[in-house]
């Protein structure tokens, strides 16, 4: 079955304007009668909640942290892209669009990406006006830097804390609306299911994490801004609580899940150091602007890096991709690191690492410049590893970081369930099979500030307000489902902890559905997951009660959904008979080991529809047409 993305007709540059012209709007006096539920308060959720409330809609914002300011967008380090072309190096909306389509390995929807590039400039204006302390040049104008995968300087940044500053901007805008009465916050409340009634999203069921109370909430529309699912691998750069539950539950209620196999493995993370490792730490990709990546030429060379002469080092990215060198896109840099480590040339304990060396940059620019640019990152590296990267090269290794897959949405950011909108990392829309650096912040804020408020209003304008009643039988039924699940988790009283199961699942996925995938490996994983899931439901040990703060219970619910979701992810990876972006199938590569796309057979978005627990999901395809950017083999050589 073919899916319609509802892309407006007309030339690419006019689509968004014509869409906005066609969308109906709600009269200002009527807006307070509509309630919108926003789940998640990261960049996408907070910016959407603030903007919807500014326009006069009533917003209920739900999040599982104690404060809305703690969402994981806060951890984004490097920056945010925009086509301002301040450095006058030839950047433009067209170029940002082309880079993003190409960076995504031709698996994103052209119209969405074009709109993203068009909106990028307004985001910078908005954030600067909010008081986001962007880096400046000495003339007081905004500074830009370059970032992996592109050749222009279009990345705006606030030291190594761009995500934090943008999130605080959105959070403050939202808190202003809390003060004005337009936004009601529901902290420490986790969405555990979606309520669909009469063919549309009508509300959610949440668990109050402090009291354990499960309550249903009704609204005229539901917005999911619940982030990505990289924690399915257990070890990732995501915050510990990041999970797939909200989007996976929505999938079970009828929203199609698109491209779950598109996961981004980030090349510059600190390698695993201990068997008790709980998460992986990302070192900003901006480090690749000045650092040179290398491994010894000889396998098993255990000499300290300082004793390996230049002639015996392999600067493999510079060698393989002379044009982009150390700035090759993330998927390519990650896979190249895996390759050299698989050859036995990896460095550090366990041989799972490569060097990121600043010696040449320090020689050329001086230590002071490097300190200014990356001081906080070097300090962070030192605290974690005990090593001084000014003296000895950093060791880095790829780690799961971002997930391009997500709930399928049309051009209006609405899922296949009417009234259910999905924004930010939680949707699938803009990054194709690989996201470029500094594009996640751009997309989250474009969705939240500038797209959703229009398209959601257009949806509401065609309906009468429903009020906040939860009388429909669906609310009771979904609440009962949620409570039964909780009781099942508490009732198992097995002998293994939630984390033990999660680690086992994560290792399996990392091995079989990580940086390189094979049909055989994916089939192994698909065989193993159901058995492991059964062991989980029988053997998990969740102590305590459902009447108070119970962090083990929270985790158990999230891991239970990861088990189901992992199967979907592997199924998607197995069905996609090509290599593209973050999805590398070993069966599909060129003789020199580069990804081989199959545009003729695989040039589509794979959107999966839930059927039943015992049945395989149904695959729907949204064909992708490339009219503005001709299909080419991505080359960074």
């Amino acid at each position: 079955m073919s899916l319609d993305g509802k892309v407006p007709p007309g030339p690419l540059p006019d689509k968004w304007d014509s869409c906005k012209r066609r969308l109906k709007s709600v009269a200002p006096a009527d807006r307070p009668k509509y309630r919108v539920i926003v789940v998640g308060t990261g960049l996408a959720g907070a910016s959407a909640a603030a903007t919807l409330a500014e326009q006069g809609f009533r917003v209920d914002a739900f999040f599982y942290h104690d404060s809305a300011r703690r969402a994981h967008s806060i951890a984004a380090q490097g920056g945010i892209n925009a086509a301002k072309n301040y450095p006058k190096d030839g950047d433009s909306v067209e170029r940002l669009f082309t880079d993003t389509i190409k960076g995504g390995d031709f698996r994103a929807r052209e119209a969405n990406v074009y709109r993203l590039a068009q909106i990028s400039n307004a985001i910078i204006d908005q954030c600067a006006a909010q008081g986001v302390p962007f880096a400046r040049e000495y003339d007081g104008l905004l500074a830009n830097r370059s970032f992996g995968g592109v050749k222009v300087r279009r990345t705006f940044y606030a030291r190594g804390q761009t995500g934090q500053q943008l999130l605080l901007g959105a959070y403050q805008a939202m808190m202003r609306q809390v003060d004005a009465g337009g936004v009601t916050l529901h902290p420490r409340a986790e969405m555990l299911d979606l309520v669909v009634a009469d063919g549309a999203a009508k509300g959610i069921v949440v668990r109050d994490l402090l009291t354990g109370a499960c309550t249903a909430h009704a609204a005229d529309a539901v917005v999911l801004a619940t982030g990505g699912y990289a924690n399915v691998y257990f070890l990732s750069t995501n915050a510990k609580a990041c999970n797939v539950t909200a989007t996976y539950r929505a999938y079970r209620r009828g929203a199609y899940f698109a491209n779950p196999c598109y996961t981004q493995i980030h090349p510059t993370c600190i390698p695993v150091a201990s068997p008790h490792q709980s998460k992986l730490t990302l070192m900003s990709e901006s480090l690749r602007n000045d650092g040179r990546i290398w491994v010894p030429k000889k396998t098993g060379d255990r000499r300290p890096p300082a004793e390996i002469p230049d002639a015996e080092r392999d600067y493999y990215l510079e060698r393989k991709y002379p044009s982009y060198g150390n700035l090759a896109p993330r998927d390519i840099a990650s896979r190249a690191a895996k390759e050299v480590c698989d050859e036995g040339r990896g460095v550090g304990p366990g041989g799972q690492g490569v060097y990121l060396d600043f010696a040449d940059a320090i020689k050329k620019l001086g230590r002071k410049v490097i300190e200014e640019r990356y001081g906080n990152l070097f300090a962070m590296y030192h605290e974690i590893t005990g090593e001084d990267a000014y003296q000895t090269p950093m060791r880095i290794y790829p780690a799961p970081h971002y997930t391009m897959g997500g709930l399928w949405v049309d051009y209006n950011l609405m899922s296949t369930v009417p009234g259910l909108f999905v924004i930010g990392e939680a949707n699938f829309s803009d990054h194709g099979a690989n996201r470029l650096g500094a594009s996640a912040l751009m997309q989250g804020l474009a969705d939240g500030y500038f797209i959703l408020p229009f398209t959601l209003a257009g949806y509401l304008a065609e309906r009468a307000p429903q009020g906040s009643g939860t009388g429909h039988a669906a609310f009771g039924a979904v609440s009962r489902d949620v409570q039964q699940r909780t009781q099942r988790l508490l009732g198992a009283r097995g002998s293994r902890t939630v984390d033990e199961f999660h680690r086992e699942l994560g290792t399996l996925l990392w091995d079989q559905c990580g940086m390189a995938r094979s049909a055989e490996g994916l089939k192994t994983a698909l065989g193993r997951i159901p058995a492991l899931r059964e062991e989980f439901w029988k053997g998990v040990n969740v102590l305590g009660s459902d009447q108070d703060l119970n962090q083990a219970l929270e985790k158990a619910g999230r891991v239970a959904d990861f088990f189901d979701f992992a199967e979907l992810m592997c199924r998607d990876a197995l069905h996609r008979e090509e290599s593209c972006g973050g999805h590398f199938r070993v069966e599909h590569q060129t003789p020199d080991g580069e990804a081989k796309r199959n545009d003729a057979q695989c040039g589509y978005v794979a959107a999966w529809q839930f059927t039943a627990d015992s049945q395989a999901p149904l695959l729907h395809k949204e064909p992708l047409a490339f009219e503005a950017v001709p299909l080419t083999v991505r080359s960074y050589k």
Binding site: S47, T51, E54, H65, D66, S67, R69, R70, A71, H72, I74, A75, Y86, A122, D125, Q126, A129, Q130, G131, P133, F134, R136, Y138, G140, L142, A158, R159, Q164, Q165, Q172, A173, M175, D179, P187, L210, A239, K240, A241, S274, H276, S278, K279, T281, M380, H382, E383, I384, G386, D388, Y449, P453, S495, D499, E500, N541, L543, D548, L549, Q551, A552
Partner: protein, 256 residues
């Protein structure tokens, strides 16, 4: 290495709470402090004891969730800076503290933030919503989406932007309150007032912002500053107490 932990356990706000002692064996110096708690919690659960509740999330020192007193010192930050002779050592949040700063056989006391305005929820988890209410009172620039002028139409001197960024780096963890003998929130409040007062975008609401945020701070039951500077020492983002002087000027200027 082997460590002994004295951990504050408290079932709920109403429960009086007590210290419990747990042993952590066969752990290495490369573990983070929170991974130490993970290991202890795994062990407790295997023994049928409810795990220690503690707030944490990003585990890279930016979300501001983790919050605990370690040997009487907020985030244990000072334990890391004590060892800073061998290289660049940042101030840290609990999640960025590594066990290499401890010795085999150490006894470590772990408590929640102690402040009237941060009531204990459970074990090491406290309620910091007072901070959110202070921001709600005025910690923002009133600009609706779409109203912003072209970003480069208002230049900001680099030094000014850098200073604003120094203050804006606050992660809202509450260590300043926990470290202060008066449980004062002045460093937190001042960081936001100072950040926005330093930028041209923050000028229009400058006086009103300082007054309303300070008023809310007082309402929440935080103490006053008596210049101990403990807040600055504990702050994982090294926010300088000079922002408090800045806030006082802003407040005074707003009053007259």
């Amino acid at each position: 290495m082997r460590l002994t932990l004295r951990v504050w356990r408290q079932k709920s706000a109403a429960d009086p709470g007590r210290f419990e002692t747990y042993e952590a064996k066969e752990i290495g110096p490369d573990l983070s402090f929170l991974e130490l708690l993970d290991v202890v919690n795994e062990d407790l659960q295997r023994r049928g004891i409810e795990p220690i509740a503690f707030d944490h999330d990003c585990r890279e020192g930016i979300c501001g969730s983790c919050a605990m007193m370690i040997n009487g010192c907020a985030h244990g930050s000072r334990l890391a800076s004590r060892d800073s002779r061998d290289g660049p050592e940042p101030a840290v949040a609990t999640c960025q503290l590594y066990l290499r700063h401890f010795k085999d056989g150490d006894v470590i006391t772990i408590e929640p933030w102690r402040a009237k305005a941060f009531p204990v929820v459970k074990d090491l988890v406290v309620n910091r919503s007072a901070f959110d209410r202070i921001i709600t009172a005025g910690g923002y620039v009133s600009v609706n989406t779409g109203e912003a002028p072209e970003a480069n139409s208002i230049p900001v001197p680099k030094q000014r932007a850098d200073e604003a960024m120094d203050a804006a780096a606050c992660i809202g963890c509450g260590a300043c309150v926990a470290a202060c003998p008066n449980a004062s929130a002045m460093l937190f409040v001042a960081a936001k007032i100072s950040h926005l007062a330093m930028l041209p975008q923050g000028q229009a609401e400058r006086a009103k912002r300082a007054l309303s945020m300070v008023e809310q701070m007082d309402k929440e039951g935080f103490g006053n500053c008596t210049n101990h500077y403990e807040c600055m020492t504990a702050c994982p983002k090294e926010i300088h107490v000079k922002v408090i002087a800045h806030m006082n000027r802003e407040y005074l200027a707003g009053r007259i």
